[in-house]
Amino acid sequence: MYFKKEFQYKGQMIAWIIADIIKIIGLCFIWLMSAKVNGNVEQGYVVTYYILIMLVSKLTSDYTVEHGVRNILSGKFSNFLLKPCNYLLEYLGINIGSNTLRVGLFLPAFILGIIIGLKNNLWIMNLNIFSIMLGLVGIVIGFLISFFVGNIISLMAIKIKEMDSIRIFFYNIASLLSGEFIPLVFLSGFIARTFKLLPFRYTLSFPVELFIGKIEKKEILLGFLIAIIWLFVLFITYKIIYKKAIEKYEAEGI
């Protein structure tokens, strides 16, 4: 259903592809310059990181913070509650459909990025099956973390009616801590440790690090352990908040 709906607007898809290409070129230039002036990080790593970040972000994104909040504020959330299956399943379907579509649309830019990277010796990812498998597992965990964080935030709409600022504030925090703005290799000491302890890294930077393969085995194990603990914590938190929030839900429909 989602695909059919989205495919009505082909122009929008082309525009998204162009926007992705502009973004990827911009990010590569900015971090390449940084790698050039600092000389502390391999330029190839930066370019590969950003090309992969764009791909992984399409796979681990969660849109519940947008449509979930809208459903609560408009009162449509009641329809989901009346259905014979858990509303999370439908939300999951919307997210997976949306992400699959976005990945498909991003592929031309992704391939272009790899070709440019390879031609300039800036693509450093090896086609290692083990790294790819680990990366894919990382993506699944990352997506689920994003999904539960998104659902927890969207439940806030039951109490707070003006959610725009909170939503944008959340996006800013998540983008900063996930490694979208700053690759983790540029950080050190306490800041790097904090980034590793919070859940956001596992929604973006960690799967990319796994794909690139320049991560130690100890770091991989520790990363997965932290990610799974976060997934469990977020699921329990979601359950508790949902139980309390649903008692206050009034389906007013603003």
Binding site: Y9, G11, K23, F29, S34, N38, N40, E162, I182, F186
Partner: protein, 274 residues
Amino acid sequence: MKQKESKKHSKKTFCYYFRVWKQVVKGGIKRSYLYKTDIFVRFLRTLLVVGIQIALLNVLFGKSEMYAGWSRSQTYLVIGIWNVLNYIGWSLFSTNLLYLESKVIEGKFDYILLKPLSSSFYASFSDFFITNFITAISGFILIFYYIIAEWGSISFLNVLVGIVAICVALLIWYAIYLFFASFTISNPRNGILSIAKELLGLTKYPIDVFGSSLSVVFYTAIPIAFLTTVPANIMIGRFSYGFVLVGLVIGIILLVISKLVWNMNVKRYSSASS
């Protein structure tokens, strides 16, 4: 005589439009009393935006003193100007133009066309979003940081002309947004504003980052260098004041083109309600 009349008329029109916009701003401010949490979160976000950008620049610079020929405080200035343009843009027109799509789909654009105002004006300035205006403070903080950091070497005149250049940049920003948004009227859900967003996002950093060949493109064919790099260079004292005039001419040309494209798309508009 005719010329005098036309001047008088345009003055009246300008005053009329200004009065309409003043009411819109008043409405926007009044609405902010309703959503106090929103305002509070916006203030927090302003601090977060500044924090993120400073952290990001520190990482970009690393141990180096210069980045693409720009010092740390000069880069703060560029990002500050970008924040001012971006968030003031969101509070004045960008959000309205973003909502244009839903208005066209729901058939509400008919009401815009029926108003005794220019449709592009009303579609762009029909609401004022004070929350975005608050986030623009992050830009002023970074610009003030530059002024304080370079207090000894800064020229007051350069700062004043730089402010004029920022106003010109806002005009160019608006023209670019209006150009891209106008296609929504004849073809809604085209996603074209996402291109504008990414294109304008490139100006968050000095244009010199993109190398000499792309820089030429950004000064000529796609003149986004006039948004942040040129005003910053004028404030620093690297560029002559003539660049403001060039920017103004570019802004006016872009605005005229945007208006023509807008009118062209209005002609192709078919109301959803008909």
